[in-house]
């Protein structure tokens, strides 16, 4: 999913997914979207992905293991993997063998290479069906408890970047300072910070999305079929 998120953005800009999110009809059949899907399949056909990629278990961190045992050269993943790799990868991280960069621009694409996708650090969701009083309580909790100074310090000590502007100075003294500063830079400089697709869409649509992505990368459906299938659940 992350591959598609970035490809869509770099090729056609954030408007491509925004149209889906806004519930526009046939938003997935946008030419930029089809191009992104096609490019993903081209990468699979060119053996860009490691052997057996469709059965690698992410929950046992087997995908990160590929990186720190030298079986994979690059990995597109979330920043949360840094902590695990530092711990489980031996001297992979501490010995300076890990490099990082933002997703590169695609030649001829309209998207801004500073755009990023994901979930900024930590996030909380509240149901739209909650009462107003419940929503007020949630907002107060968020602004006072979650973002208090003590919390921020704890986040940094654990190797994550808190979702507060101006904490850059505190990052310098933390473990893995270079990586944290890099992440902070991406987050604050991104023109557009889009949501992860499986969080932005409803569970019904997200389920269909993940299903179709699996089939796309298995090369069992074409980009057009992907678009048709996903167009059916727009707005659900």
């Amino acid at each position: 999913m992350m591959w598609l998120e970035f490809l869509f953005d770099r090729i056609g800009g954030p408007e491509v997914f925004q149209a889906v999110f806004d519930g526009e009809k046939d938003a997935w059949s946008n030419p930029a979207s089809i191009e992104g899907l096609t490019k993903a399949q081209e990468l699979v056909k060119a053996n860009g992905f490691v052997k057996g990629f469709s059965s690698i278990t992410a929950d046992s961190n087997a995908d990160q293991a590929l990186l720190y045992t030298g079986k994979a050269a690059m990995m597109l993943h979330g920043t949360w993997t840094y902590g695990n790799m530092a711990e489980a990868g031996g001297d992979f991280v501490s010995g300076g063998h890990l490099g990082w960069m933002n997703f590169p621009a695609v030649e001829g694409g309209k998207g801004d290479p500073t755009d990023t996708v994901g979930n900024p650090g930590q996030y909380l969701s509240i149901s739209s069906k909650a009462t107003d009083a419940q929503k007020e309580t949630a907002k107060k909790f968020f602004s006072t408890a979650v973002l208090s100074d003590a919390e921020v310090k704890e986040w940094i000590d654990n190797g994550a970047v808190p979702i507060v502007k101006g904490t850059e100075s505190q990052l310098g003294s933390a473990k893995g300072a270079d990586f944290l500063k890099f992440v902070y830079g991406i987050a604050s400089n991104a023109k557009v910070f889009a949501q992860s697709w499986d969080q932005a869409l409803s569970p019904t649509a997200a389920e269909k999305l993940l299903d179709n992505i699996a089939k796309l990368f298995q090369l069992s459906i074409t980009p057009q079929q992907f678009a048709t299938n996903m167009n059916q659940v727009i707005g659900q």
Binding site: S54, S55, L66, S127, T204, E207, K208, A214
Partner: protein, 281 residues
Amino acid sequence: MTLPAVLVFVAFAVVPLVGVLLLSFTSWDGIGVIKPAGLASWRSTLTDPGLPHALWVTFVVMALSWAVQTPLSILLGVFLAGHQRYRELLAVLFFIPLLLSSAAIAITYKALLDPNFGLGAGLHLPLLTQDWLGDGTLAMGVIIFVVSWQYIPFHTLIYQGAVRQIPRSMYEAAQLDGAGRVRTFFRITLPQLKHTIITSSTLMVVGSLVFFDLIFVLTEGGPGDATRVLALLMYKQGFQANLMGPASAIAVILVVLGLVLALLLRRIGGGSSSASQLEGA
């Protein structure tokens, strides 16, 4: 006298069944308000292309696991009913897979079959280093293998008990008539096992219809939907896509299918199971 049993049955079997039937006529996301929706959920389930595919996958799993488990269980059962040396030790060893939890077995096999860090990669055996769980056909094969590995001991036990019941006089008669081991097996042992085969097959078939935990942990229906059996489709619709109405419709379909299969098997096995197979009867 039978009131407690009837109460338990009603509470735990009838009430949920009726509940699911009613839910299939609603539209519900599992958390909010249950809205009656007439036949909408049924319509969307029956027109979903995922349903015939799931039915096919379930049928394949059922047929293949029966075809693999039954012959092996019968042979093992006959062996364990005999009096060979080391029979008891082997019996204990054969029984171990049944004692393990399905989820634990699935997690272990998943780790063993990893194409980069599993058994094949560790022992440098190219044959074992295939993309077992990433290729549709291979994943199906793996499922059948693991299911059989876990449940053959159970059915072996059933057959072992059944073979022990066959009267020795029949074997002696066959020996007197000059029948060899193979003929004895096909002419005496198998026919005497008829009712046991029906029982064991019913358990196997209905069991594989609702099979969930092993497949869920091992492949989650993947890759794509190559191993997405009906029970998994129901889970994904209900708990991942939050569509409880269609999921309940699939549940009703499962119940009906299970019932039909069980009745069919009984019919095949000869209507009356009280007909005796004893000699002279």
